[in-house]
């Protein structure tokens, strides 16, 4: 367990994971639940335990839609989406760890796709 990594995630997210009361509402409301290996409540708990690397290597960090449903509906104001974001940043900031390659983009496009989708994906996946 890497203590620095945990501290970095906590600082970067600004989230106090100790506020979580383990109700699971974040995971109850998450629209990407079935696509995720680790679910929002697990993110919070695993960060609390310091198990960040497992999360960094999981595809789950690219499945969060950042729709903030968990943030708004959490009864304890924990803001799980911010934890997911912080873990994802910790992953993509590592050298050579960009989740997307600009060369892949053309084949993903169609005529109607607003470039907003590309801009957003770049911001989230590439450092």
């Amino acid at each position: 367990m890497d203590k620095n990594l945990k501290e970095q995630v906590l600082r970067s997210s600004g989230v106090n994971v100790l506020k979580c009361m383990r109700c699971g509402k974040c995971s109850g409301t998450c629209p990407s639940y079935d696509e995720m290996e680790y679910h929002p409540h697990q993110f919070v708990y695993m960060v609390e335990r310091g198990d960040i690397e497992t999360l960094m290597h999981s595809k789950s960090i690219y499945k969060c839609l950042t729709c903030f449903a968990c943030v708004d509906r959490c009864p304890r104001n924990v803001e799980p989406a911010k934890v997911v974001e912080a873990v994802r940043l910790a992953a993509v900031r590592q050298q050579g760890n960009n989740h997307m390659n600009p060369n892949q983009i053309p084949e993903m496009l169609d005529d109607d796709l607003p470039q907003q989708a590309i801009v957003t994906a770049f911001r989230k996946y590439i450092k």
């Binding site: 009361m21 509402k25 995971s27 109850g28 409301t29 998450c30 639940y33 009864p75 304890r76």
Partner: protein, 663 residues
């Protein structure tokens, strides 16, 4: 020359762990006037008190300083000890070195230094203390109970039983409160109405009890033993003394589309109504917002069918005034509004209901005559999802930070009743924790699971989507299975958090009692004085003090009654001697103090004074009525000549404390 004794308490390790008590005793021993300075393990224990008493006698002390816990805890203990040793109790001062020193600081050196300074301030103050004698004021032998739910009814019955007159003020047309709306009670499953309504009748028939229904407290003046209360009797447009409760008017009233509060708006009532069959008093009330006669001046049917002529469209609000010796607050609770939780679709779908609505849906006197049917299409639900902690245990701006305490148990009750009556209905309960501390409570919950096969799922519902086919998609997490579930439910029941009644806050202001940040009344001591407020003569009964189930409410109601009776049996009570007094030689009769006194305790008298030239002159000077003065000290600051001062907190005493701290 003053002879002061200083007594430093260890409070076990509570103080001694962070404050070097020996050093404190040593340092204070060198203060001027201090003749003895000791430390002891537990100063409040009998042997600790004896230490103080013996020192008073042995050293002929004229003042005592105890360095210990907060004066709010043991000031009285030490005052009594001093009195029993022949020292005037008001010559005792407390230096608070526990709550305001040892418990908040960690560094021994600086905490000790602070404790010494606090001790010095107390020594400096006690130098200027003077013996005080408390006066007495009479007690009015009548109690007021505010709120007519089960808490208020029980309190009133107990006080009446002791032979004192009691008035109940209830804002609704009938007493009974929330318990009257509840179908069955946990963990015995007996019928709420069957055990409540006899008590309501008993209250109405008791010669010592007067019920002011449809009334509100408008104003409270006075103090313990002698409150003057104005009660507003709201116009119900029906003469209570004439109405027989026959109900003919309610049958004939043409305005039949008024949401029925008693059934949580799940059905309608008429504009003139009796809330429910066993209402007490059983008299009709006209709802002026819907009555066509009162709105448009046309109709008058109720008046024409009433055989006793009880209808009075011209009735107006009436204020009555009454004296009371004690006031008991029993304003109760309400479920919170769920507008901010519409992820559960409460505002979108009539089949998403609160638990209190479910009580009415299942009650024989409810909208469906006791058959559980969906409000939307009156069909029988086959799958019901219960959601716990809706708005409870929240740290957001929407909900309440506390546990509402009753939801776990009533949900188990609902689940069990439904499974008992409709075995073909599946019941799911989403819980965070199941909290069942209470006699036979956990057994009850286990029966719901083991005997009735209620599906308890650890997790929370995150989104409810009503569908046009009548089903409700409930999306939730099952934390133990690590799965997100979708349940096609027919009904969803939300365990809404409970909150104090909205009338409690303005009432607390009138009563000058304290409330916590959630608007629950604050008890005088969380452990040892749970049914008294910090304001003398005001007692707390039921859920106005915190979430409670029925047995707890009744227990607290009786406890509050016992405390009130303890006050009412006295012919007079000892007054607080720390009251204002005016130095007549300095007073110039300007009336500044009179204007700021909230109690009207200050009057002016013309008094004859001998002047230096041997003549006499009549001057107007302030005079404080010590039985009325409560000792706030507002007048002392308003006084321009410095004539007004406060016993126990005199200008010179506070100045000497300031000096000691800033030395």
């Amino acid at each position: 020359m003053k002879r002061i004794g200083v007594f430093v308490c260890h409070c076990g390790t509570n103080i001694a762990a962070t404050v070097d008590v020996k050093a404190v005793a040593e340092a204070l021993g060198h203060e001027p006037g201090v003749v003895i300075s000791q430390d002891y393990q537990y100063m409040c224990s009998e042997s600790g008190q004896n230490l103080v008493k013996n020192a008073i006698k042995e050293h002929n002390l004229t003042g005592v300083v105890v360095c210990s816990c907060s004066p709010r805890m043991h000031e009285n203990t030490f005052r009594k000890a001093a009195a029993s040793a022949g020292l005037n109790p008001y010559l005792v001062e407390i230096a608070n070195i526990r709550e305001q020193c040892s418990w908040i600081h960690k560094d021994i050196a600086s905490a000790t230094e602070k404790a010494i300074i606090l001790g010095k301030a107390a020594v400096a103050k006690v130098h200027l203390n003077s013996p005080l004698t408390a006066g007495e004021s009479p007690v009015v032998k009548r109690a007021l109970v505010i709120g007519g739910g089960i808490a208020g009814i029980q309190t009133a019955l107990d006080i009446a039983e002791a032979g004192f007159d009691v008035d109940i003020v209830e804002k609704n047309p009938t007493i009974g409160g929330k318990m009257a709306q509840i179908d069955k009670t946990f963990p015995t499953l007996d019928c709420a109405a069957c055990i409540l309504t006899p008590k309501m009748v008993e209250a109405s028939q008791n010669e010592h009890i007067t019920i002011h229904s449809f009334s509100e407290v408008a104003d409270v003046k006075g103090f313990v033993g002698n409150f003057t209360v104005k009660i507003k009797k709201k116009a119900r447009f029906v003469d209570e003394t004439k109405c027989t409760g026959c109900g003919l008017c309610t049958e004939k009233c043409p305005m039949k589309k008024v949401p029925n509060e008693f059934n949580m708006g799940l059905d309608n009532r008429t504009a003139i109504y009796i809330p429910f069959a066993q209402a007490v008093p059983k008299v009709a009330t006209i709802d002026p917002n819907y009555c066509m006669m009162l709105q448009k001046g046309k109709c008058g049917i109720c008046s024409s069918v009433c055989s006793v002529g009880a209808i009075d469209y011209k009735q107006e609000d009436k204020i009555i005034e009454q004296q009371y010796g004690a006031i008991i607050v029993a304003t109760g609770f309400n479920p919170i509004k769920l507008d901010k939780y519409d992820e559960f679709a409460y505002n979108q779908c009539p089949d998403v209901v609160t638990s209190l609505e479910l009580e009415r849906l299942m009650n024989a006197a409810g909208p469906n005559g006791g058959t559980l049917l969906r409000p939307s299409d009156k069909t029988h639900p086959h799958k019901i999802v219960f959601v716990q902690c809706v708005g409870s245990r929240c740290d957001d701006s929407k909900g309440k930070p506390y546990c509402s305490k009753i939801c776990c148990m009533y949900t188990a009750k609902h689940a069990m009743l439904i499974r008992e009556k409709y075995p073909d209905t599946d019941v799911y309960v989403f819980y965070i924790d199941v909290r069942t501390p209470g006699k036979n409570f956990d057994e009850f919950y286990r029966r719901a699971v083991e005997q009735y096969n209620v599906h308890y799922i650890k997790g929370m519902v995150g989104k409810v989507t009503p569908r046009s086919d009548g089903k409700i998609d409930v999306q939730a997490s099952d934390l133990l299975a690590n799965e997100q579930l979708h349940i096609d439910a027919d009904m969803v029941v939300l365990a809404a958090a409970i909150e104090p009644d909205k009338t409690a806050r303005p009432l607390a202001t009138m009563l000058t009692t304290q409330m916590d940040t959630n608007d629950f009344f604050t008890e005088a001591h969380p452990k040892l004085r749970p049914v008294e407020s910090a304001t003398a003569g005001i007692f707390l009964s039921g859920a106005c003090q915190g979430p409670k189930d029925i047995p707890e409410t009744v227990a607290q109601a009786s406890a509050a009654a016992a405390k009130a009776i303890g006050l009412l049996v006295k012919n007079s009570i000892t007054c607080n001697p720390c009251v204002a007094h005016s130095d007549e030689l300095m007073c110039n009769g300007c009336s500044s103090c009179e204007k700021v006194c909230p109690y009207g305790a200050i009057t002016y008298i013309d008094k004859e004074f001998r002047m230096p030239d041997r003549t006499t002159a009549i001057r107007r000077v302030a005079s404080v009525n010590p039985a009325v003065c409560q000792g706030c000290g507002a007048c002392t600051v308003a006084c321009p000549s410095g004539a007004m001062d406060l016993n126990g907190f005199s200008n010179s005493q506070i100045m000497s404390e300031v000096d000691a701290i800033c030395k």
